[in-house]
Amino acid sequence: MKKACLCGLLLVAFGGPVVAEPSSKVAWTLETLALVKNGDREKGRQIAETCAACHASGPQPAGTTFPDLQGQLATYLYKQLRDYKDGTRASEIMAPITASLSDKDMADVAAWYSAQPAQAGAKAETVSETAERLVERGDGRRILPSCNACHESDGRGQTIDVPALAGQNPAYTEQTLLDYKSGARHNDIYGRMRTIARELGDEDIRQLARYYAGLKR
């Protein structure tokens, strides 16, 4: 018995049969890229009728952390839907909703939302200097690349799945960065966003969310 316990302990300690799940099961192979590219907007619109309760166009009611999806990158939307379904992105709301969606459905919904005009951001009256510096130059001492490097200078996002941030609901952006920081959200491959968010102070995060909410795409 003792031996069995010891073996078990050793196996756990040295990662024997305990295989950690990848942070996302989505891989951008040519097939997946083609699937998302060929998403059917009309079918997507029909499926998206269910989504409108939380993701309708127009500004979100204050305080809600539901993200604006209009004008978001289709590849990013598709990856998030898949991750919700696979459980690699945890959400009590989205997990049951995505459970019945096929890969094709997700590509269709992604195509529909990405084709909608993005929310026009309301420029924040005062933009914090810290946020602006992080966005434009990053911070060498904390090994932080500028946000622009991946999310582009107008916050429109970048291929393949770097999300657009411009005009996004600030409460959502703030919560997302906090979740990356704490590890509650962990569907970024190789922990790229978690590594960055861990270096950000809570006030940096709040200011960055305000900054991006005020950007127009």
Partner: protein, 175 residues
């Protein structure tokens, strides 16, 4: 021949200088190759960059420094815009260590200044380099192939620890 094409003595001197430089470079290449066994990477090993994270050698939980069954040290890393993962590795001074690195996206380079660790990381291929770190200390690991807007922020940390403290912290064995 020299009667047909007149060559100015100064030009002749320069030709000798150039030939000398070429001979010097070739000599250096042959010397390092034959005496110090410095060779360009021989084995070409391909890998699918898009599915790196899904499993196999470059899965997220397989990265880092570990000791193989035969006692040889191996560091497995992934280069992706904009960093090397894991972001910090500890390696011992004076022991040979083999780096295996793959890119998850575009062309990167892996360079650790003040050491001879320097290789291109081409998407679709595994780069393998074996080196020995002569001196303990903290070194940056830099990307030296332009890979995008955040290229100048793409660096990670390599901590070379003395052999004694490496042995003291032995539990890394078997990871």
């Amino acid at each position: 021949m020299s009667n047909l094409i007149p060559v100015h003595p100064l030009e002749k001197r320069w030709i000798y200088v150039v030939l000398g430089v070429i001979a010097l470079f070739l000599g250096a290449i042959f010397y390092t190759a034959l005496v110090h066994q410095v060779h360009p990477p021989g084995a070409i090993e391909t890998i699918d960059s898009a599915t790196l994270h899904l499993g196999g050698e470059f899965a997220e939980d397989k990265l880092g420094v570990r000791t193989d069954a035969d006692g040889h040290l191996r560091a497995t890393l992934v280069a992706a815009r904009y960093g090397f993962y894991p972001r910090e590795i500890r390696v011992p001074e004076g022991l040979p260590i083999t780096f295996r690195i793959a890119s998850a996206d575009v062309l990167h380079g892996m360079h650790v200044p003040m050491t001879n660790l320097d290789t291109m990381v081409v998407p679709g291929y595994v780069s393998t380099v074996t080196t020995t770190f002569p001196k303990p200390g903290e070194y940056p690991m830099l990307c030296n192939e332009y890979c995008g807007m955040g290229h100048d922020h793409m660096w990670s940390k390599v901590i070379v620890v003395s052999r004694e403290s490496w042995k003291a912290a032995a539990p890394q064995t078997g990871r």
